[in-house]
């Protein structure tokens, strides 16, 4: 039964850690894109559009 418990723990542990890492990466990139977009200078309208 030790092998069984070890197998379940390792496989589910790897999947869990990878899932958490994916969520962390998504959060990091989402924040970064939001930062970039927030810091973009506003686009001035062309003279003809004024």
């Amino acid at each position: 039964m030790n092998y069984v418990v070890a197998g379940y723990s390792i496989v589910l542990g790897i999947l869990f850690l990878y899932g958490v890492q994916l969520l962390w990466r998504r959060r990091r990139w989402t924040r970064l894109v939001a930062r970039v977009e927030a810091s973009r200078p506003p686009v001035d309208p062309a003279p003809g559009d004024r």
Partner: protein, 295 residues
Amino acid sequence: MTTTAAATSATTPTAGPFPPGLVQSPRMIWTTRIIGIAAAVTVALTVWLGLWVTPPDKVQGDLVRLVYIHPGVAWVALYLAFGLAAVSSLLYLWPRTRSLFWDRLAAAAVEVGVVFNVCTLISGSIWGRPTWGVWWAWDARLTLTAVLLILFLGYLTLRRVPAEPDVRAKRCAYAALFAAVDIPLVHFSVVWWKTLHQGATVLNANLSPSIHGSMAWTLLLGFVALTLVFVWMLLVRYRIGALEDYLGTGELEVALLERRSEGADGLAAAGAADVTAPDVTAPAPAATATAEVAR
């Protein structure tokens, strides 16, 4: 004072408008969440049934419980993940369907597939030690599965080689198709060669499953659970890929950008505390740095 406002806006990441191509619909967000919850519930059910409800096998004893997850992770890695990567790569190379969507999908599938492939080899090895007496044997199926892992690790390495998006997509698509040749070899290895690894339990030549009752249902649930886990991971990984492609930066640039942004946070906080300080009128590092990267 306008610069102070720019620096302050850079400190609130979620305040900025998201580019139209990257805005996720509420439906998509909820679909991802529901799949994630369903995956967690079905995995928990599989573990409960596999460890406590199903009986031990007449021959294998308790070791049969590993069978409820090992074929499931192998199914996801070999057929779903790497199969999807091969099909996506083919669709990218086909001129009529060429789109970076397929390239991103293939990359996401390969990364998730590699994780599942590692799980396949580890769970198989843990089952093999008490059954065969060895952690590893140079058996055809085991060896070809390890080769598959190495080939797709090569794919992931190739993706990190700096190149234009189209060039990278094309060379990665060819690499995925080359690696995918190993998939049928792994599948038929137990038929073509005399291997230590057992043959198919469910999808065998006679299509008559050699597993029944609660064991069969638990095995089936394991397949469903791990498929849901794969779909959830694929959706999240695809999203990360889309965000990465939008900024078009490597890990090093992103790390630098984050450090600069943190510096800008400190500047903005200092500026808010003392608005009469003369250095507040200097350009905010985050604003300039992010603008450079956005280009």
